[in-house]
């Protein structure tokens, strides 16, 4: 696999959040989904930086809605995962699974995972 096609952990989390949110994936919901499910504090800037990077790689796509008065006149920027993004996610998962094969963790490890 060429360098750069492997997804980092946060990238995987963001793509997974997009897939979970389906058609309601935009900055705020992605951030809240990550905080809720992954249970870690996330800055919106970090989410957008990752989304932009993924979009540059062609793994996700975004589009703007019309300006929304309830959002101070800002449009929403929705995201969706491209087929290439799903493939990359699958590849990353396969790599991780291959790495996990035959690995046994002790009690402490089981408890924290």
């Amino acid at each position: 696999m060429p360098k750069g096609e492997y997804l980092g952990e946060f990238e995987q989390l963001v793509i997974l959040a997009l897939l979970r949110l389906e058609r309601n994936a935009y900055g705020m919901t992605v951030r809240r989904e990550l905080e809720k499910t992954a249970q870690r504090p996330v800055a919106l800037g970090a989410v957008y930086a990752t989304l932009d990077r993924l979009e540059d790689k062609g793994l996700v796509a975004s589009w703007h809605t019309d300006p929304d008065p309830s959002r101070g006149g800002h449009p929403r920027r929705y995201f969706k995962v491209e087929p290439a993004g799903e493939q990359a996610l699958a590849r990353s998962r396969a790599i991780m699974q291959r790495m996990w094969d035959g690995v046994e963790l002790g009690e402490l490890g089981e408890a924290t995972s």
Binding site: Y26, G27, M28, R31, R32, A43, L44, G45, A46, Y48, A49, D52, A61, S62, W63, H64, D66, D68, S70, R71, G72, G73, H74, P75, R76, R77, Y78, K80
Partner: protein
Amino acid sequence: MLGDLHEEYVRYAVAERGSARARLWYWKQVLAVLSHYRSPQRMLLPWVREGVDRNLTGFAHALVAVAGGLRQSCGSLWRDRAFAGGAVLTLAAGIGCSAIAFTVVRGVLLGPLPYDRPERLVEVGGHLPGVMGRDVAASAPEYRDYLRRARSIDGLAATLSLGASVTDSGRAVPIQAVLATPNLFALLGVSPALGRDFESGDLRGTVGNVAIISYAAWLEFFSADPRALGRTLRVDQDLITVVGVMGRDFKHPGAPDERPVHLWMPMGVAEGNLLDGRGARLLTLLGRLRDGVSLDQSQAEFRGIARELERSHPDYYPRGSGWDAVVIPLQRKIVGAARGTLLLFGGAASLVLLLACANVANALLSRGDQALRSEQRAPRAVALLLAGEGLVLAAVGAVLALPLAWLGTGLLTHAAAAEVPQLQSVHFDDSAVWYVFGASLLALLACGIAPATRLLIAAPIRPPRRGSATAWLSGNRVRDVLAAAPLASALVLCIAAGLMVRSFQRLAAVDPGFDGDRVLTLQARLPVPNDPRTGRFFEVGQRVAFFDRALEETRALPNVVDAGVISHLPMRDRNGWTFRIVGQECEVRDGLPTLEFRVASPSYFDVMHIGLVRGRHLAPSDDRRSPYVVTVNQALVTQYFSNRDPIGQRLALGGPGNRQAEIVGVVENVRDSALDADPRPAAYASYRQHVGVDMTFVLRTETRPEAVAAAAADALRRVAADVPVFAAASMQEIVARTVAQRRLLTWLLSLLAGLAVLLAGAGVHSTTVAALRQDRPAETILSAPRRAAPISPLAAAGRYGLRLAALGIGIGLLGAVGVAELLARLWSEISQLDPVVFGGSAALFLAIAIVGALLGRAGSHRHGGADLAGPLTPP
């Protein structure tokens, strides 16, 4: 992203955290962007947001947005280094050129003269077109009349500039002296740096035997010795006591840089002294406008005085002479004809700046369009990106323009110091730096803000419906006009330069009437003491003996074929005299008859290859013992003898009571003032019958004239050590000086036109690349007539080039007609609608547009062309 923050703040943050902590959270999120988010300019718009503390967040947002936006713009430009490099160089060239022009135009036309309140200083001159021409000097009686009657001025000084020589070192050093009424320095508001100003007791007779010397003369003759005051200089055989030294920066008003004034002596203009005589127009008058008086009011008053003088002295101001007094601001008088040259240069350089801005704006607009359509970026983000790119390009362009302008100003002031007065004192200073700053702001406005605004206004989030107003605005008209504008301005410059070059070619083909090839000229000036009768060249015989020996010595020099001498060299000196044909009634209707009066040796005509038409040349036998004779030129015969035979007729020269001369021959015409001016009627007298003080030797040489100059000067000094010999120059150089300003402007315009052509070609190229890169089929981008079968991209590019060319050439030709009229006003022989220049330039630009477009098509193909197409809306 702002929308997301806003939404979360309103919907959750306040409820979950409470108002104060929510605000803190919001603030933290904003700052976190600095370290996380790489394109935060997306959050900048709009500034108004409800529910959020504007004061708290506004500044942070702006900071984040600007810093991030600039970083993003720099990155984007870095990725497209070829474009960025071209754009920066374009802007640097445009800003640099206009900064050079600004510095020079401001320094020369607006730079303050080194006097007290220089804007109130005026020169009072006169027009006497029917007798002597326009811009004539004043006489001592006129000076006294003005002084008595004029109320609009607060002081009037008279000056008389003349050459002299200092002979203390045993060798005659030529200097430039000014005789001035003692109030000169007080009027200018300056005083000597050392010693004192003139006092009333300094003046005895016409010229006092004291002098204030220039800083340069102090260095040269006294080695900057402070004890120079009270010491003497031998000037034209008189012992003159130095009473003052002017400061280093003082310059006599209007003295050319290459001929600075070395000393000032007090001059009296009382009735009956040597300079008196209403017809003796020798004086330059400098005045200071009284406080509260405008130039127009002063002009009106002097015009009134001129009318009074006309009534009281009809002999001197005859009807038909067109006599008038004129008041001209000193600055304008000093700059003179160079004003037109400088303004044209300034205009041309401004066109280049506009052209550069239009080019870069156009390219940025195309980038914006592409980002919008092909990469599905939000219009606001793209607009900010464009504005950021414009800012970066303008800033880098300005930084590069600074050394360019500094270098260019230095080169220009060095190269053109002789052609443009005051140019030597022009320097690249603070104001030039400010100008560069201002010009780069203009560039930013044109290149960044304008395309960004246009995108924001016109760019829709969804593709526009065909035929809607948005579609029109977001269409290609702005881009086309931006691409055609450089073509038009470049065409204007090209035609202006072409007209100048053509006029030069015509001038080069003009026969001046003499053969100036391999002719050396050298000036010699016989010393005239304050009391001329005590001079050793006062007697005519003494002067003739000097010139006879001098001609003998110079003829004997190796490589010298022949030598002659003349009082007023054609193309350099003028000497208009009135005359009358004896026995013929003179009608003063269109002014008095005038001719150019020259004193020459018979050999002068051989040296200059001026042929005889009829009768005989002046002969060595025409001397003081024989009758006074002259030869005249064909122009005089044509104008005043209606082609009758003039031989044997007599001319009364220089007004009533003067000597009468018999015409013995007719010689060929010589263009005496400029190559583009018709020869004036002229008469030549022999140096043995009418000797001048200032004479110019002309030597025909076998080698380069300059190679003989030193030997010739030595030979003349051997004849008389106290006669200064100076201003050695070849005749060709003297002819070239008459067209120096025109040559300068031709060079400048040609350089700017060359630059403009390059920029315009590059503009067409990049526009076509952009047009073909867009995600629509070529035929709609290029607005070709809609038809069923699509046309090939090559044909479309060609067609696009043609359309741009038609637009640009159309606008450019209109502009060029105006510029041609301006040029023709400065130089009458410029042909306003020269078909070769207009046709040739239009054809050149047609070719540039088409080649640029076709190359652009190749460029777009290389970059992937229309393959970048993609859907604008998500599935």
